[in-house]
Symmetry: C2
Subunit: 544 residues, 2 copies
C-alpha cells in the first residue's frame, strides 16, 4: 500500500513570491526609468500594496478566473504590478510583444481572447490603430496617471491605470487555488505559421523561479541589484520579475531606453550588480563604454542569452571590464531558462583561454531540466561526442502543449524538440551550433552557422554577420557569409575568408561573402535568416 508523506502541501503560487518580498524585503527598492522620461522609485512593500489594489480593480472590471489580461509594456514597476495582480488573483497574464506587426498582435490578442489590455503611453498609437479589431477586449487601460491621459482618444472609454489603482481598496487577500492553474501566457514569434501560445502554470513558474535563483544559475541574493534588459513582454524577462521577489534583490527597470549610454548611466546611478540581456544590447553597451573610456563601478556579472554570446564579447567583459559573463540558453517554451554556463571545480586552474572556451558554451542544464541530443534517426548521442544533433529537453517548466492546440503534442517520446542543433560535452555543457532550420548541410555533414558568425563578429570591421546555406551542385549546400560593416570600416571578401584560417576546419570556411547595409531582425531581436535565404537563394557561389 502506498504511504503518503505527512508534510504540508500548500499550492505553489506566484502570489507567494510577492508576499515573501513584501514581508521580508518591504523596504527594498524597485526603480524604473519610465516611458514618461523620469526615474520612479518605489519599494516591494508599496508595490505589493498597489498590486492588491490593482487586483481589486480587475475584479471590479469583471476580470474573472482564468480570464486573459494582455499587456503591451516596457520593463517597469506597473508591469510588475500587473505580473502579480493578474496571476495572483487567478487570472492569466498575457504579455504581448509590441515589436510584432500589428496584424500579428491582433491575431494573438484574439487567439488568447484577452478581456482587458494594459499598455504603456508609448503604445497608445499602436493600440488606437488596432483597437477596433481587438474584439475580445472589453477594457483598454493606459498605464499612466490622469495628467498624461490624452484629451481625446480613438478608444472609447479609455481607462486610466492610476485612477483604477487609486480608487480600489487595498484590502485583498491573494486567493489559494490549484497550482496547476494557468498563470501566464506568452506567444512565440514563430518564423513560420501563426505564433503559438505557451501557457505557464503557477507550479511551473514557481519551480522555475527556485531553480534560476541557484548559485550555478542566475545566483541571486538579497544583496543584488538586478537590471533586466531582457523584456518582460517576452520570455518573462528570463524569470527575473519572479526571482528578484523571491530573493529580495533590488530591481532596476530601464523602460524603453536600451541604448548603451542610457543603460550605462542607470547601472552606475543605481549600483547595478547584475544585468541580463541579448548580445546586441551588450554590443551597444560595450561600444558606449569603450568610446567614453569609462568603467563599471558596481556591475559584477551579466547574463547573456537569446543568441550565442560571441567569444570576443565575453572576453571584453571579462578581461577589459572585470565583469563575469553568464552565458545561458532558453526559450519561451522553457519558461525560459534551460542551461546556464557556470564553471565546475575542475575549471579553477584552467587558463583564461580554456575558461573562455567553456564560456563559449551555453552551459549545463539547470536541475529540473534534462537535456539530450539525438541524431537524424532519433538515437541519443552520448555526452562527450564530437557529433552534434537535435537538442531535446524535458522537465517541470518545459512545454507540454501549445495553447489552443491541445490535441497535438509537440513532444517526441515525452521530450520537447527545441529546434536547436547542439553538441553536449563530457561535462554536460551544451553548445548550440545552429537552429535546425539554419543548419548548413555540406556533403552530408553539418556546418554550424553560429560558429562561423561568431568568428566573423570577432573581426574589427564587422558590425553584424549572418551565415546562411546556399545551394551547391556538388555539396548540396555551402555557407555564404552576409556581413554588415562597421561605419567607416573597410574589409574585403578576401580579408574575411583569410580570417577563418586556423580557426575552423577548411571545409567549414564560407565559400563567399556578401556585404549588405542591414540584416533584418525579428520582433525579439533575432536575425531573420529565412529572409536572407530567400534574398540570396540564387546567389552563385564562386566555382559553380
Amino acid at each position: 500500500m502506498s504511504l503518503f508523506g505527512l508534510m504540508q502541501s500548500p499550492p505553489l503560487l506566484v502570489s507567494s513570491l510577492l508576499d515573501h518580498a513584501e514581508r521580508f524585503h518591504g523596504d527594498r527598492e524597485v526603480v524604473s526609468r519610465r516611458v514618461e522620461g523620469d526615474v520612479h522609485r518605489t519599494t516591494y512593500g508599496a508595490l505589493a500594496a498597489r498590486a492588491r489594489k490593482l487586483a481589486n480593480a480587475l475584479k471590479t472590471l469583471g476580470v474573472g478566473e482564468s480570464d486573459r489580461v494582455g499587456t503591451l509594456a516596457w520593463n517597469g514597476y506597473r508591469h510588475l504590478e500587473l505580473y502579480y495582480a493578474v496571476s495572483g488573483s487567478g487570472a492569466v497574464l498575457h504579455t504581448l510583444n509590441p515589436r510584432l506587426a500589428p496584424d500579428q498582435l491582433v491575431y494573438i490578442c484574439g487567439h488568447a481572447q484577452d478581456q482587458a489590455l494594459f499598455f504603456d503611453l508609448t503604445f497608445l498609437p499602436l493600440v488606437e490603430a488596432v483597437a477596433a479589431k481587438l474584439t475580445t477586449v472589453k477594457h483598454f487601460v493606459l498605464m499612466a496617471d490622469r495628467e498624461r491621459m490624452p484629451a481625446a482618444s480613438k478608444i472609447a472609454n479609455l481607462l486610466c491605470y492610476e485612477d483604477l489603482v487609486a480608487n480600489a481598496s487595498e484590502a485583498f487577500v491573494w486567493p489559494s487555488f490549484d497550482e496547476s492553474r494557468a498563470s501566464s501566457l506568452c506567444y512565440t514569434s514563430g518564423t513560420t505559421g501563426n505564433p503559438k501560445g505557451v501557457l505557464y502554470s503557477h507550479r511551473s513558474t514557481v519551480l522555475h523561479t527556485l531553480a534560476v535563483g541557484l548559485p550555478d544559475a542566475l545566483n541571486l541574493s538579497a544583496r543584488d541589484v538586478v537590471l533586466p534588459v531582457v523584456p518582460m513582454f517576452h520570455v518573462n524577462a528570463w524569470g527575473l520579475p519572479y526571482a528578484c521577489c523571491m530573493t529580495g534583490a533590488k530591481l532596476v527597470f530601464p523602460g524603453p531606453a536600451l541604448d548603451g549610454k542610457s543603460l550605462y548611466e542607470l547601472f552606475e546611478a543605481e549600483g547595478v550588480t547584475m544585468a541580463a540581456g541579448v548580445p546586441t544590447v551588450w554590443q551597444g553597451l560595450l561600444a558606449h563604454v569603450d568610446g567614453a573610456g569609462v568603467r563599471f563601478h558596481s556591475l559584477e556579472r551579466t547574463v547573456i542569452g537569446g543568441a550565442a554570446a560571441p567569444r570576443a564579447m565575453t572576453e571584453k567583459f571579462e578581461r577589459t571590464y572585470d565583469v563575469r559573463v553568464i552565458h545561458a540558453w532558453g526559450m519561451t517554451e522553457l519558461s525560459p531558462v534551460g542551461t546556464v554556463c557556470a564553471f565546475k571545480a575542475k575549471h579553477a586552474g584552467a587558463s583564461e583561454d580554456a575558461r573562455l572556451d567553456v564560456q563559449a558554451k551555453q552551459g549545463r542544464a539547470v536541475y529540473g531540466v534534462e537535456t539530450k541530443i539525438v541524431d537524424e534517426q532519433g538515437r541519443e548521442i552520448p555526452f562527450g561526442s564530437e557529433t552534434s544533433g537535435d537538442l531535446l529537453v524535458r522537465g517541470p517548466w518545459v512545454i507540454d502543449r501549445y495553447f489552443g492546440l491541445e490535441q497535438e503534442s509537440p513532444l517526441v517520446d515525452g521530450w520537447f524538440p527545441t529546434g536547436d542543433v547542439a553538441k553536449i560535452d563530457a561535462d554536460g555543457y551544451v553548445q548550440i551550433t545552429d537552429r535546425s532550420k539554419d543548419v548548413i548541410k555540406s556533403g552530408g555533414e553539418w556546418i554550424g552557422s553560429i560558429d562561423l558568425e561568431n568568428i566573423a563578429m570577432a573581426h574589427p570591421a564587422v558590425a553584424m554577420a549572418a551565415c546562411i546555406a546556399v545551394a551547391h551542385p556538388k555539396w548540396d549546400e555551402r555557407p555564404l557569409l552576409v556581413v554588415v560593416k562597421k561605419p567607416n570600416a573597410e574589409v574585403t571578401r578576401e580579408d574575411l575568408l583569410a580570417f577563418y584560417e586556423g580557426k575552423v576546419a577548411k571545409w567549414w570556411v564560407p565559400d563567399d561573402v556578401v556585404f549588405v547595409d542591414a540584416i533584418p531582425l525579428g520582433a525579439t531581436g533575432k536575425m531573420q535568416k529565412n529572409v536572407l535565404r530567400d534574398r540570396f537563394r540564387e546567389h552563385r557561389l564562386p566555382g559553380t
Copy 2:
C-alpha cells in the same frame, strides 16, 4: 472556467537528484572517512550505479512499495547510497538516531514497522543487543564488506552489504510515482511522551532541496566541497545529501571521527569549502586549530545550527580565521531548514560589531517557509517588535501530521507551533530567545526533561522531580535534577543518578541533583520550570 497550464508536470522525485548528479557530475568525488578507519573515494557516477544495484537488492529482499527501511549509520557513502536506493525505489528511508537509548530505538523501529535494518560496524553490538525485540525487521544488513563480517553473530542470517551490492544487477530504472508519496521518516526525540515520526514526501524533500541551495540559504555550487558534520541519521544532515547531488558539490563524509583534529585534517586534505554542524562540534574544532596554531586553507564558510551560535564563536571564525558563519535554524518537522542568516544589502556598510549582531540571529525565512510569532493569546506580534512570542511556521516542507497520529493535528490554524520562543526584527530576522521551555539541548541534541522526571518519579523516595537545563561550558546545557523527597524518605544524589543506569542513554543521565522543599506550581498545576531555571542559573555542575 479554470484554465490549467500546459507545461510538463513530472513528479518531483528524490531519484531525480541523483540522476542529475550522475549525468552532469559523474566524475565528482564523494569521499568518506570510514568506520573501518580508512578514507574511501568514489564518484557520483559510481555511487549512482551502486545505488541502482542496491535498489535491485532491496527488491530481491522483498522490500516493497512504501516499506520502511531503517538505517543506523554515520555519514558515509553507503548511507548516501541508501538515501537514494530506498527512497528512489519507492520505499521509505527511516534514519534512526544511534544515540537514543536502546528501548527508544526498539520503540521507534517497531512504531515505524521497519522491514529491514542497515547498520554500520560500530553499531553491531547495539543491534545485537536489541535484535530480538525488533520484531518487524526481517533483514539485518551490516554495512561492511565480506572481510569485516563477524565470524559469528547473535543475529541469525546477518547480511553483508557489499555482497548484496555485488550480487545485484545494475540494470534498474528509478520508477516514477506520485510526488506526494513518502520518501523518508525521522523521529523527533520528543520531550514529552514517545518520539514522534515526521514523514517526508518526495515533493517536500525536492522543494526543500531547491530552497536550501539558494544563495541566501546554503549557497551551494558545483565548485563547493561540502563536509556535513551534522548527522545523516538526524534531520537529514540539513538536506545536504540531497542538495549536494543537485549542485554537484563534492561531498566529504567524516564518519564517526568528529573531534577537532580529525575534522581539521579532513578539511585540509580534501579542500573543504563549506562545513555544517552544531556549536559543540565547532568548539572542538576551534580548540584544535587554536591550540595547534594552524589556519584553514580552503574553508570559506560554516553553517551553524542545532543550537544558537555563540557570538564569540562567530567572531572567532570570522575575524581570526576568515571563515564566514552562516547561522541557521530548523527542526526535524521542517525537513529541517527554516531560517538562514544571510545579510541584506543594507548591512554592507555596517561595522563588524553590527554585522555580528545580525549574525547572532538565526536569520530570515527561506522562501517557502513563512514565520510568525504570537503572544499567549495567539495574536500575531508584528515584525520589529521587541516582544518575543511563540514561533509558528508553515510551508511546503513543514509537517502537517505526525506518522501514526494522523487523527491529531499539531497545527494551530494551519501553522506549526515550533515550541521555540523568538523575536522577529523589522527585517524579518528571527532570533530564538528561549528554546522550547523544557527541553535540554546537550551537544546539539535534545534531552527530554519529562522522560528524566518520570524516571525519578519512579524512585520510591521521590515526591516530585523537575529536570532543567543548566549551562555547561562544553555541551551548552546539561540536565540538573531538582527533587522533593517524600516525607521521612531518604535518598542521596548518588542513589538517584545510579537509578538512571540502563534506563536512558548515558549522556541523558543528569549531571547533578539538588534537593528542595517544594517545586513551584502554576495555575494549571504545571511545574514552573522557568522559576527553577532562574533559581539555579548559577548552579555549578560537578566537573565544570
